[in-house]
Amino acid sequence: MLESTFTHIFQSASDDTDLLNRLFFWFFIAAGIVLLTVTFMVAYIIRKFSATKRATPHTHFHDDRKVEIRLTILTSLVILLFLFFAIQTMWRIDTPPAEGQKPDLIITGHQWWWEVYYPENGVIAANEIHLPAGKRLLVQVESADVIHSWWVPALGRKMDMVPGHTNQVWVQAREPGTYEGMCSEFCGAQHAWMRVQVIAHEPAEFAAWIKVQLKKINPPGDSLLLRGALLFKEKTCSNCHSVKGWSEQANVGPDLTHVGSRKKLLGNKEPNSLETLKNWIANPQQLKPGAHMPNFILSQDEVDAIATWLYSLK
């Protein structure tokens, strides 16, 4: 079945996307009728009025004001009808939040990753966005550098992340599951790999996830892991990345507190594995040319130690 093989923007897990799909449906029907009519008329003209069948035109009219005006009115009516539906749907999707309503989630776009902040409990995560399923959530989107665009088609509309300008958008996942999304505004070298996964949980499961996220990282006992943790500070990883409980001042790069628990890495370019982490730390520019993380020219065992420690942060 098509549903199971192709991903497309009509796959819906939210009321907003349902509304959009209905509008899409009628638009494609109307557009299809217009296109077929024009194509049919052109085909008919080509068959019927070829100069091989008739040397001169049979009529010589310059103008038929009546036909023109009627067709203009018809076009205008169809267009007005769609204008009405467009405005109606728009106001239904972009409902203003209640007076004083705080956002459930603040998502900030960075070149080329996503920062997620849950204001209610202070959790900060990156790239993988966890949500409670069911409710329509108010999400505030911002940008830390250039313009990005938040787009997870199944969960609702697209919204740009503009520096110096906060936007709000409703996001809803009716059922638990994993939803694919991506940055939809060209944002530089690695725009292609600024993808995102949204994981919606049952509310209880979500509360459990939050609890895990609140856990701080303790200095490890194992010697290899400890070496990695120390190198993380020594080799200046901690100037850009935070690991709560260990080093938490920076947010230039993604928060790594529970990086080991994520399914994918590098804006969904690679699956999360020890191997990926090692390759990435050893030479970031090879995996994602143009990324802001430089090559620190670490030795192989330094790479192994850091990667092993990071991978252990579940």
């Binding site: 192709f6 497309h8 296109l35 080509i46 035109p57 038929d64 267009i79 007005l80 728009m90 725009h191």
Partner: protein, 554 residues
């Protein structure tokens, strides 16, 4: 009955590269025909470069995960592809046709300001060369053809590419403004006896209306570019939010120019189509007044629709509602033109020369581009479709299916007049079919890619089901188009040397340019009839069935 207007015989020989000072004769020329031809060669030159860039893009995207080109290089290439095709191909080609044929069609012997005309051309050419010099100066612009701030600012794009982008587009912009001014004044002041503004050929009318659009649009672009250049070079902060500027300000400036620009590229093509279809249907245009008036409506509305490029930036429902209404409104005058072209062909006697084939393909493919355009005016649909491959498909249906097909039709229609020789119809049909099939193959599937969620401007994409297959089809189509363009160029060069002699009026057409020699002599005409209707040559050839006798032009 006829009162021919005699024009003094020219004493100068025709310009030729073979004469002793041939090259100088072209470089120093202020002749509108030579400048028109130079505009077209410029457009063809950049068309080849832009086409090679397009091929590189399609090769890179042929399969998921390919990294034949680095992302940084890919971003430069697609930026240059868009900028080149819009500013250095479609613009100079449209302006070139207008420069060559507008004076001929109104029975003038020159543009109103010949030296301004030369300046406009050289500004365009050198602006283009300046843009390409960026490749040798550290890197080409890499922020997309609309260079959104702050990505286009120094802190995010640190090569000199965007400085070259600003300077070169300012230069070509000045050239375009000069050309527009020239067209307006020429049309107003240099029409021959009897040719009132209501009797000018539709191509002239479209260029005339279009020139007002250009006069108002390019200063907006240039103002924005100057601000961006000041930001980059003098550390101002027009578009940098962190120091009090606004990233959205750039978008407002750019699209207030950029949307009229779409119509600037479309209207001349509408004009060409409105000349080609009647001649090859052997019928006068259906609803001259309607086409003329709807173009004015388009030109006026074009200034009130720019924010439909910005529906997702968060302007709010009231603003979006206004721009949705204006954007849908502009669909009406554009749509009714299709009715006029179909009405012109209806019950005619159609000759399927290559020019006419491109005109027919234009109608169908431009309708596709127009319909997908409507889906961007329907705000909620724009929310999902904008910045996906659906947009890429849409702009190519408008710029190729609309503008370029019109320009191809113009080349096949007017080449005999410009060169004195016919283009090969056989090669022309090869060009046509390869291009049409390739074009629809390339861009039709991109609608589906957009709907499957492929964002635009990505140097590669994940291996999701269907992505690889559709992109591969798209790449095959692009190669067919590339082949078609090679056939076209072969046709041009072959026909220039060995084409059949065309004579003055190979298509039995009706407008004044067909009265001139092929190629026209320096002063264009030896004699001109008094213009009494919209088809002066028809009247001349059929005095008993002349249009002005039936007097049904109102």
């Amino acid at each position: 009955m006829e009162k021919p207007i005699n024009i003094p015989e020219s004493t100068l020989p025709l310009p030729s590269l073979k004469s002793s000072n041939g090259l100088l004769q072209w470089i120093a020329s202020t002749d509108h025909k030579q400048l028109g031809i130079m505009y077209m060669w410029t457009a063809l030159f950049f068309f080849l470069i832009g086409g090679i860039e397009a091929m590189l893009i399609r090769i890179q995207l042929a399969q998921p995960g390919l990294e034949l080109i680095s992302p940084e290089m890919y971003n430069q290439i697609f930026t240059m592809h868009g900028t080149t095709m819009i500013f250095l191909v479609l613009m100079p080609m449209s302006v070139g046709f207008a420069t060559y044929f507008l004076p001929l069609m109104i029975g003038a012997n020159e543009m109103a300001f010949p030296r301004l005309n030369a300046m406009s051309f050289w500004m365009t050419l050198f602006g283009g060369l300046l843009l390409y010099f960026s490749f040798f100066a550290g890197g080409a612009p890499d922020a997309g053809w609309f260079s959104y701030a702050p990505l286009s600012e120094k802190n995010y794009s640190f090569t000199n590419g965007l400085d070259y982008y600003c300077v070169s587009l300012i230069v070509t912009g000045i050239g375009s403004i000069g050309a527009a001014l020239n067209f307006v004044v020429t049309t107003i002041t240099m029409r021959t006896t009897g040719m009132t503004l209501k009797k000018v050929p539709l191509f002239v009318w479209m260029v005339f209306v279009n020139s007002f659009l250009m006069l108002a649009a390019f200063p907006l672009l240039n103002a924005g570019l100057v601000m961006l250049l000041i930001d980059r070079q003098l550390d101002a902060h027009f578009f940098l939010a962190e120091s009090g500027g606004s990233a959205l300000l750039w978008q407002h400036f750019f699209w207030a120019f950029g949307h009229p620009e779409v119509y600037i590229l479309a209207l001349p093509a509408f004009g060409i189509i409105s000349e080609v279809i009647p001649v090859f249907s052997r019928k006068p245009i259906f609803g001259y007044n309607f086409i003329a008036a709807s173009s004015v409506a388009i030109a006026l509305l074009a200034y009130g629709v720019w924010a439909h490029h910005m529906f997702t930036v968060g302007l709010g429902n009231p603003v979006n509602t206004f721009f949705a209404a204006s954007s849908m409104l502009i669909g009406i005058p554009t749509g009714v033109k299709i009715i006029n072209w179909i009405g012109t062909m209806w019950d005619g006697a159609l000759h399927f020369k290559t020019a006419m084939l491109f005109a027919l393909a234009f109608i169908v493919d431009f309708v596709i581009g127009g319909l997908t355009g409507i889906s961007f005016a329907i705000v909620p649909l724009d929310y999902q479709l904008t910045d996906t491959y659906y947009v890429v498909a849409h702009i190519h249906y408008v710029f190729l299916g609309g503008s370029l097909f019109g320009l191809f039709a113009g080349v096949y229609y007017w080449f005999p007049k410009m060169s004195g020789r016919m283009l090969s119809e056989k090669l022309g049909k090869w060009h046509f079919w390869l291009f049409i099939v390739g074009f629809n193959l390339t861009f039709m599937v991109q609608h589906f890619l957009g709907i499957m969620g492929m964002p635009r401007r990505v140097y590669t994409y994940p291996d999701l089901p269907g992505f690889g297959t559709l992109n591969f089809i798209s790449t095959i189509g692009a190669f067919m188009m590339g082949l078609a363009v090679l056939v076209f160029i072969w046709n041009l060069f072959k026909s220039l040397r060995h084409g059949d002699r065309a004579g003055k009026d190979p298509w039995d057409a009706w407008t004044l340019e067909w009265l001139a020699d092929a190629p026209p002599n320096l002063k264009n005409f030896k004699q001109l009839p008094e213009v009494k209707s919209r088809r002066p040559l028809w009247d001349l050839k059929n005095p008993d069935k002349a249009d002005y006798l039936s007097n049904d032009e109102s």
